[in-house]
């Protein structure tokens, strides 16, 4: 297969590289760019461990071909706290014990980040269904939902205070 010239922005950084067009975005990120926050759990779009944001949407990067990512704006877990400080969600997952083995965590947080952009005041039910595409084998989800709800209310309180 002939290689293509792939241009994309990852976590605010412009990247250019040669890849096979059918190479998966998760492999480009992990193997070519050494961005190992997004994990490989299934490679068949079922577990969500590889979740990243692409052009403002949550995508499972194991189902995105490099060719589809050409010109895209991609944010991974590493891009959520560019200045070093953990963001509200990251803090909430830590404080509310929203992780055990942590393998699902980068995908979970990246997905939750998008969920809260789309719905800043979700109910527990909305969080449960909004996160249904991200599997966790360890936590039983209780603390994950707790963490996301806590982050939402903290973000909203901060917004109100600013207004």
């Amino acid at each position: 297969m002939s290689k293509m010239h792939l241009k994309l922005t990852v976590n605010g950084q412009a990247e250019e590289l040669r890849v096979e067009p059918r190479e998966l975005l998760i492999h480009v990120l992990r193997e070519k760019l050494n961005i190992t926050g997004p994990h490989i759990g299934c490679e068949t779009s079922h577990c969500g461990a590889c979740t990243v944001e692409m052009n403002g949407k949550s995508v499972k990067s194991c189902t995105v071909f490099a060719a589809q990512a050409d010109g895209a704006e991609v944010t991974t877990i590493e891009g959520l706290s560019p200045l070093g400080e953990m963001n509200v969600l990251q803090n909430a997952f830590r404080e509310h014990h929203g992780l055990q083995c942590g393998f699902c965590t980068p995908g979970m947080i990246t997905r939750a980040h998008r969920l809260l952009q789309e719905n800043p005041t979700p109910t527990a039910e909305e969080v449960r269904f909004g996160m249904a595409g991200n599997l966790c084998r360890c936590t039983g989800y209780q603390n994950i939902v707790k963490a996301i709800l806590a982050a939402a209310s903290e973000m909203n309180a901060a917004k109100e205070a600013a207004e």
Binding site: G41, Q100, L135
Partner: protein, 779 residues
């Protein structure tokens, strides 16, 4: 004090930032090779030829090895030397590794593995319990049988009799991180292996054996696993061996990770069981005798099946004092993946057997199943349980009972001296409002023809210790550096259960310093040798004690020095709040350490611990295999659509015993996760093999673990506040496995819902998938 504080997991910040490294995240040199196994396409037969030309021709393939390339085939078994790395002529299951591809990239290796053709002269595989029994295909010479009192006589004398049978499905671990290993060749024939394993010492042992080098030439490091659940106790051996062999032969680093599909086809799962029971009971629901027969499919190799099947027998009583019991256990050899350790290790299957009996007896007599359970409980341990001190040195498990009360023993003759389920269940009945909800469920069911509710309370008593007594040992290595920072290492591995943090909390408490001072390092066979697997829930019990022993040596050396200088006694030197106080003087911990260093006091120590008082004869089924029991109970309410079989958990209430918890937040996390995993096992998680022995559910598209949307909307979890009566580390209790069995209540609640539309006892099999529920409703 750091012990008992609800601190986040030690690497939580790394995890939320995406910078916690798993094996596949470790940067590798550019010349790293990648491996994949070519798998057997049938379940049984003889290999007649391999066609690997197309695979070899693929650009980027460096080598393909088959049995012929190994004059002596390396063995991967943890028990019986019956697991060749690659099939040597005979095929034992569909998915068995037959050849090994070495390539420049993971994808190339995987592609080549698919291109290889294995030609086989097929044999009829042995797949089912019936087929295995007919062929007498089993491990050990015959069934294991333990008997407690004369069961046949007790059955014959019982006023009421009933019998039944339950099928219990297996379970895929579905650790989110698949199996992975990386081997890096070192100078002078030495090998460094990174492995996602619960058992680094076993990896070291098997790799050394395969390379024909002493164990001292192999170092295995495990920083963390992305989940283990027992599935990484022995199943990581083939990957580590394959990587090390490749690295040694070709002099280049080698890495292997299974794709999810391969992982599910190659590796073993929880044992499925069939349990039949003959029960004698009285009119009040007291069970007088039970004769159990347990059959389990162990798969193609022995692996850990014997101790798993033993533990199923050891939990056939669960929480109930039954005067006569006979247990017959058949460990069958089948042409399927080798069933292996999985959280609970046979205990959950054994427990489900007796829980089914209790339900069945209650249904037969028209009694509330909770009442029947409570009538059969072991006697409550005497004494004021709540508020026992954290650190009395003596073992208080043998508190004498009042005159006239006899200590009850389990069917394997272990005295039950710490039973707390009368109190614990009593409290849960109140907090969960069990009786009012039982009535509400009955009213709902009378009023609603289609949606039916069910409610069940399941108590759990789980034995803590490895049943192979010599495994109950642990080592630790602790260094205090001259700047007052502390480095801690022990033989336990971190798979998300929070072991590292709990043990670090112990270390911080011993030195009276804040937790930030304690650096936790990867498990490393070069630092602590001869460790046991992190399994049997024993991680913090064993390693916590070993670390405590190491810390105390260093602390006491510092104390002796300071005491001398202040004309005080060493025991009067106080370590607290990052300070050290002696004879009216006070200094920072750093200053105390610096002083010790200048006075040539050794600031490094290894610690060792072995669990006291246990002894066990597994053939006779007699002894004290467990140091103590951990307890818990759960109430689950479900709703079932009787037209479709669809159902959901509405509410779960749990009260669980972690003794004096080392870290209540992490322990509650284990309980929640365990419950959901247990409920998944018995409801949605179904393993299906077809008639040819092919696992049909080998991907998450067909094998359904609980998702976020399945989480019970009301989920109340609390800890039973009561110290361990046995002298464990800070009187805490093990928590890894016991909560899994709380999920049994979800299964029995579904059974309760089905019972509401039938005249008789539904005798539901597990897992209670929608399909199976529908069948049970319409049968």
């Amino acid at each position: 004090m750091s012990v008992g504080a609800p601190l986040p997991q030690d690497a939580a910040e790394l995890h939320v930032r995406g910078s916690a490294r798993y094996v596949d995240d470790i940067p590798v040199p550019p010349d790293c090779l990648h491996l994949a196994f070519g798998l057997a396409p049938v379940a049984a037969g003889r290999i007649t030829g391999l066609d690997l030309a197309a695979a070899r021709a693929l650009p980027g393939v460096r080598a393909i090895w088959t049995a012929e390339d190994f004059p002596e085939m390396p063995d991967c078994s943890s028990s019986n030397a019956d697991e060749p790395l690659l099939a040597t002529g005979d095929i034992h299951y569909l998915g068995q590794p037959v050849f090994l591809v070495v390539a420049d990239s993971h994808l190339t290796a995987r592609r080549a593995a698919r291109l290889g053709k294995v030609h086989v002269e097929e044999r009829k595989p042995i797949l089912t319990i019936e087929e295995a029994l007919a062929a007498d295909s089993r491990f050990e010479d015959g069934p294991r049988i333990w008997e407690f009192n004369d069961t046949a006589a007790a059955l014959a004398a019982a006023p009421h009799r009933l019998s039944g049978r339950i099928e219990i499905g297996g379970q895929e671990h579905f650790y989110l991180e698949g199996q992975a290993a990386l081997a890096l060749p070192q100078e002078d024939g030495q090998m460094l292996v990174h492995s996602s394993t619960q058992h680094p010492t076993e990896i070291q042992h098997k790799v050394a054996h395969a390379l024909h080098v002493p164990m001292s030439a192999v170092r295995v490091e495990t920083r963390r696993m992305g989940g283990g659940f027992g599935g990484k106790e022995s199943q990581g051996n083939p990957l580590a061996i394959a990587c090390a062999l490749t690295a040694s032969r070709l002099g280049r680093p080698a890495k292997m990770r299974y794709d999810r599909d391969d992982d599910m086809q190659i590796t073993g799962k929880r044992h499925d069981f069939r349990i039949a029971y003959e029960v004698g009971h009285d009119a009040e629901g007291r069970v007088l005798a039970v004769d159990f027969t347990q059959w389990t499919r162990c798969g193609w190799s022995m692996d850990l099946s014997l101790p798993v099947a033993d533990r199923a027998m050891l939990h056939a009583d669960n929480a109930y004092a039954i005067p006569a019991m006979r247990i017959e256990s058949h460990r069958l050899r089948t042409n399927t993946q080798s069933a292996t350790a999985f959280r609970g290790f046979g205990g959950p299957q054994g427990l489900l057997g007796i829980e089914r009996v209790m339900d069945h007896v209650a249904a037969e007599l028209g009694l509330d199943p909770l009442e029947v359970r409570q009538r059969n409980f072991y006697a409550e341990a005497p004494g004021e349980a709540v508020g026992l001190p954290r650190t009395p040195s003596e073992d208080i498990s043998e508190v004498k009972r009042g005159a006239g009360t006899e200590v009850q023993v389990t069917p394997y003759h272990q005295p039950v001296t710490d039973f707390i389920l009368h109190g614990l269940v009593g409290q849960l009945v109140e907090t969960s409002d069990y009786h009012a909800r039982r009535r509400a469920v009955a009213e709902w069911n009378a009023a609603n023809p289609v949606l039916k509710k069910g409610l069940a309370l399941t108590p759990v008593k789980f034995g803590i210790s490895f049943t192979l007594t010599h495994l109950n040992q642990a080592g630790a290595l602790v260094h205090v550096y001259q700047d007052g920072s502390i480095l801690m290492n022990h033989g336990g591995t971190e798979m998300g259960q929070g072991l590292f943090q709990k043990v670090a909390q112990v270390a911080a408490a011993r030195f009276g310093v804040s937790i930030d001072r304690v650096r936790i390092t990867a498990t490393d066979t070069g630092k602590v040798p001869n460790t046991s697997a992190t399994a049997a829930s024993s991680g913090s019990d064993l390693n916590g004690m070993a670390v405590q022993a190491a810390c105390d040596q260093i602390r006491d050396r510092i104390a002796v020095l300071l005491a001398e200088r202040h004309q005080a006694r060493p025991e009067d030197v106080v370590f607290a709040d990052d300070r050290v106080r002696v004879g009216g003087d006070e200094m920072s911990f750093e200053d105390a350490v610096a002083l010790a260093y200048e006075n040539r006091v050794s600031l490094s120590a290894s610690g060792f611990y072995k669990t006291p008082e246990i002894e066990w004869d597994r053939i006779a089924g007699r002894g004290r295999p467990f140091y103590y029991f951990a307890y818990g109970a759960a109430v689950t309410e479900v709703v079932l659509d009787t037209l479709t079989g669809e159902n959901r958990i509405l509410r779960a209430d749990i009260l669980h015993d972690c003794g004096a918890s080392l870290n209540p937040a992490l322990d509650i996390g284990q309980i929640e996760g365990g419950y959901v995993q247990g409920a998944g096992w018995l409801t949605t998680e179904e393993l299906v093999w077809d008639g040819s022995g092919r696992l049909r559910t080998h991907a998450p598209s067909t094998y359904k673990i609980p998702a976020c949307s399945d989480r019970p909307p009301v989920f109340n979890v609390a800890l039973w506040k009561c110290a361990n009566r046995a002298a464990t580390v800070y009187r805490s209790k093990a928590v890894g496995e016991p909560p899994l069995m709380l999920g049994v209540s979800a299964f029995l609640a579904l059974s309760d819902a089905v019972a509401s539309v039938r005249g008789d006892y539904p005798s539901l099999d597990a897992p209670a998938t929608a399909e199976r529920l529908l069948m049970a409703i319409n049968r």
